[in-house]
Symmetry: C2
Subunit: 439 residues, 2 copies
Amino acid sequence: MKLSTESYKGVRDFYPEDAAVQDYIFSIWQEACKRFGYERYDASVLEPADLYRAKSGEEIVNEQTYTFRDRGDREVTLRPEMTPTVARMVAQRRRELAFPLRWYSIPNLFRYEQPQRGRLREHWQLNADIFGIANLEAEIEAIALSSYIMHAFGAKDDAFSIRINSRKLTDWVMKEYLALDDAAAAKLSKLVDRKEKMPAEDFEKQVGAIITNKTTGSFFDLLSSKNIDDFEKALGAHAASAHGIAEIKETLARLAKLGIKNAVFSPTLMRGFDYYTGIIFEVFDTDPRNRRSLFGGGRYDDLLGLFSASATDKVPAVGFGMGDVTIRDFLETRGLLPKPQSPIDLYLCVFEEAQFSFAEHLASTLRAGGVSVAIDFTARKIGDQIKVADKKHIRHVVCIGDAEVTSGSFKVKDITTGIERQVTEANLAEVLIAARKAQ
Amino acid sequence: MKLSTESYKGVRDFYPEDAAVQDYIFSIWQEACKRFGYERYDASVLEPADLYRAKSGEEIVNEQTYTFRDRGDREVTLRPEMTPTVARMVAQRRRELAFPLRWYSIPNLFRYEQPQRGRLREHWQLNADIFGIANLEAEIEAIALSSYIMHAFGAKDDAFSIRINSRKLTDWVMKEYLALDDAAAAKLSKLVDRKEKMPAEDFEKQVGAIITNKTTGSFFDLLSSKNIDDFEKALGAHAASAHGIAEIKETLARLAKLGIKNAVFSPTLMRGFDYYTGIIFEVFDTDPRNRRSLFGGGRYDDLLGLFSASATDKVPAVGFGMGDVTIRDFLETRGLLPKPQSPIDLYLCVFEEAQFSFAEHLASTLRAGGVSVAIDFTARKIGDQIKVADKKHIRHVVCIGDAEVTSGSFKVKDITTGIERQVTEANLAEVLIAARKAQ
């Protein structure tokens, strides 16, 4: 029977050229998190299904996640997001951990979606969270780290904007100002979140169907406010009793002071997860042809309380998640992905089998000297061996024949420029390491 | 309802101190693979169940793996090993890829085991494979890389031995020399694999029950051979028709020439997977109290043929896998794990909220200068803040109060030695980076 070479539907194989892009993205994430004092944590992709039921509800767990029963009749889910896992871990050792915690991870996440173009069932995501800081410094740091990561990827300030809102304000608008019940508030919130993706008339009509107890005009004024001062003006006398306005102002002022000038108040920013309790933010591509959301996060002070019988066991938390598929697409569209370049310094081409042992010794010496070396053991035509190095984006080749074995002197060829230079064995490692550092 | 903080049964949570050990192990693996010219690849943990049925059989897939049906009625398995995946990927692009390939990955693998002490359902494993090299250079490189990794972990030659055998030889012994049928050969092979774990009498009795067509004495002589020459002698006149002996000799000789002196022929080495076709090897701990197998691999030239209708589409392959649980245990037992040390250079303790903004600016400047900095935003007692740095294994602290804000001069304290030095803001980054490099 002939076996299929296809991967499972909706997931990706990472051939080396794709793994290299992933490595690049992950290394930027890791380096940025380290710079901000974050420690890495990790967990299994398998979690008890109950972890998601509490907050997401039976329907989402059954229909949008991979959930199955193991042979011990335990219901297990392939994690669809990392926040419940990190909350579970922090709650478990709440009494031993040294707060504040700054934790990051790059988990793979699964969602059961009907396979269709661009909809993947598995993706990787940077998750960075701060636990134990109740004041706005946590939000400011999370947003500053987000901005730092975008800059580390080479994005300029005008390539992205950071939209900010507060769950306190949106809740106040929905429940106090518009006096909606929970179901209507949830419905309106979802609608506002999709505002930019639908025609204005449709939006207004659908909003009108939800807000039945007052005219919708003043609500549309709120949503079209250009900044937080406009928003306050649109509220008029109600502004004094609104929640969350002061923290939005403070956040924007403090970010500006840190040199982050592309943060803006956005009254339409909602964020899907219902566990947020304070400032929420989302980073958007500013490309007028594609104002897509890139990633986001916010404060979720109540989530850890789910793991405790005591209401006083809350742990303040702020975090964000940034997916690999979206960011890769952004970097590709913006021309920000670096050129493919192998981490391997040298490809040793060998004329005949008789020289294999010599090549192995040379490679062994070079490796001990810090050089990354691959050897071509096929004994094919030298031209074909050099083509392999080129295809793998390895910059330097050395060909080993009888002359090299006898003389211990080698011609190092840079296949990107065609330039060759004669180097003795004693200098070979040094020359190659210098070339790597000069790149 | 109070949610459980327990992880799913049989998998691990990685708190930062455990993630740091994992990072250390992975970084040694990655650096070694890069040094030998290996490129990283990756794939999803989800694979079509059929991928394992072909070689492992229905029973193993159903009883020892996580296999379930998705809502599209596809049978999907959480990969129990990486070799079928890499074989599938190479087979899929066989005509486009530039051979020889050197590929590595560090996948997580799942096995359904009844949970019990020390038996995990998920572990991570380095997989390193070479495709497209039919000669012994591939085996020699795989074993040399294995040895390089052990040295990179700080293991001396006398801490481990590399046992070598050939599937050609074991097959010849079973099928030609002992004239066993496939079932009896498989049974005997499993028994020999467990030889060191059972009393000699039990072993001999059970072997006697399988080898019924001749006396078992000469077989026991073969198994107790100290080296390949002894083995040949024990075979007597049969040695001339045996398979695999020359390649074992050649492999050992070439390894010795490369300075690898702890490789030995082992007539009892079998390796579980049935896809091996040539040299097999396994690295053992030499600790007399625990001669455990650490990892191993071998040649599997026929596996890629499964994906093709044509028998000529074989791709020669050699690879090995090295699990994180076993190697971590070896490093712990041997005292080879490095001391916990945070990658974060500086912990900024802050006396009062009024100095938070100053601390953020200082951190921002230091980060731009390449320093990793975490800030304590709790405004707790300074002593408690320093304790947090100590618990996180961060070596240096600076405390920010009004004096520091005014003077721009800071006392950098090394909390491992207690030594303090006064440093100006302009020199702070330099001092901290120099301290990191001096470690």
